[in-house]
Assembly symmetry: C2
Homo-oligomer: 333 residues x 2
Amino acid sequence: MGLDEAAQKPHDRLSAWLAADMEAVNLLIRERMASEHAPRIPQVTAHLVEAGGKRLRPLLTLAAARLCGYEGPYHIHLAATVEFIHTATLLHDDVVDESTQRRGRPTANLLWDNKSSVLVGDYLFARSFQLMTEPGSMRVMRILSNASATIAEGEVLQLTAAQDLATTEAIYLQVVRGKTAALFSAATEVGGVIAGVDEAQVQALFTYGDALGIAFQIVDDLLDYGGTSAVIGKNVGDDFRERKLTLPVIKAVALANAEERAFWERTIARGKQDDGDLEQAMAIMARHGAMAAARADALDWAARAKAALSALPDHPIRDMLADLADYVVARIN
Amino acid sequence: MGLDEAAQKPHDRLSAWLAADMEAVNLLIRERMASEHAPRIPQVTAHLVEAGGKRLRPLLTLAAARLCGYEGPYHIHLAATVEFIHTATLLHDDVVDESTQRRGRPTANLLWDNKSSVLVGDYLFARSFQLMTEPGSMRVMRILSNASATIAEGEVLQLTAAQDLATTEAIYLQVVRGKTAALFSAATEVGGVIAGVDEAQVQALFTYGDALGIAFQIVDDLLDYGGTSAVIGKNVGDDFRERKLTLPVIKAVALANAEERAFWERTIARGKQDDGDLEQAMAIMARHGAMAAARADALDWAARAKAALSALPDHPIRDMLADLADYVVARIN
């Protein structure tokens, strides 16, 4: 590996290694997001799909399949399936969260309307289910349909857990497994399943995706308090304004003195927020080391992801997946 | 058949004939709408599922399977699948249409919020995909996932066709196939597929469901102008207020004189509606015989549905399905 390659982000190295596969995925996505009768469908989908998302989830499927020696055509279908499920959930999330910005651009619900986002999301879900039937593997379909159910369940749980100061780290973990890790782990697991590897390796791929997804989401939740709008392409403090109980808040609430408790009661539980409250929330979290503790948890999940890789073949892709686990957390260095 | 039975509606006779199967479907629905982690899911679902809907779609699956001699367990799963898809689309429709009443009760989006309706709908879609994998038939999964895509596409098409006076009867038919007939035809078709009948009979079941669904939706659209709130459990004139181009309106627009054209331009295209406009719309449609012409179309589709049944076994269920096709249109006698 030359110096140039070593300097690249692991995600970019995976993309370069899997470039031909990824091009096939992009072609298939464009083909399947078409609609003969309803031109609004490809308009809305293209706005999101072509906004320069990282395509991390389909890359994971391609990487898992290739790492396991798969030579057939269907990792392309499964990677496109995973991206369609992800895109559908983004469309619906932006409606639910009333978001106005995604990947640094106006959201579809803002550019068109909530109706279009709901219905085009439904279309992409249905398209994903059509795609996942094509490899003809019952097990693949069970994994991906189970992941879809876990995602929706996690989103509903997040909805009801929001504003509730009694939310524990265990509930947070369930929400995170639903909203993020379920699709990561399904993405890696199906790659191994179509490659026909043994159960220990399928389980290792699941564990890698699950742990990577949890680390990724913890970091995303940290960035929502610590990043800048230019870097993360999304409004800082969104989670605070939406009164979401993310990991650093949960940790700070657990350690709160009476005055801090009253602050959280007012801003999160009752939703009475004023100018300066976001800064105050960040100061309280810093005082209790809540951000650092959450980052330590993310590092622990990244370590678990890397450990799982030992069951898989020695291969350049495996090294990139290990680096990816480190990089996911390094985003908040 | 006794006099009592003859006097019953065909739908009730089907329900009685298939009562044991239907009970198993209801049990499975209750079991699968549960959620260990998110109690809001069964709350929202139960509100809709237990509101006394007709369960017409799962009945069609059970009827098709039994008519074709199926003796296995999986017609129950497929009937529940079909009802879950239907329930998910109702939840999302009520968000998209901003409806406040469904089956004579407040809608879920009113009782909870739009967020819950979107996410619980997603959960039910995912649950339906889990259920449809259980019989282990690739063909069944393709039929049902294709139906889901057609439904979503029809809804998006309806969204963009609303308010557009250039909407033709051909576009209306596409919308209706999407929003209603696709699930009816999938419901009947999969019943034949799991029973293992020949292609001609599978096709006949598809055609019956497709034509029945189209007749059903045309009548529903007529009732939106002609029924009463107490009878149809839904606000009369909803489609007019939502500026939907349904069949009687399309027929009246095609025959409009200059003054009537101006009326449709104002009320449907521009959405400027005043008191009395609904009555005026109904008077214009009556003047051109638009309601009668749409009813004639519905009768024609019902006749096609009945004709398709001739390819299927002579059986009491077949007679009830024939009567059902008549009854669907007789609702507006």
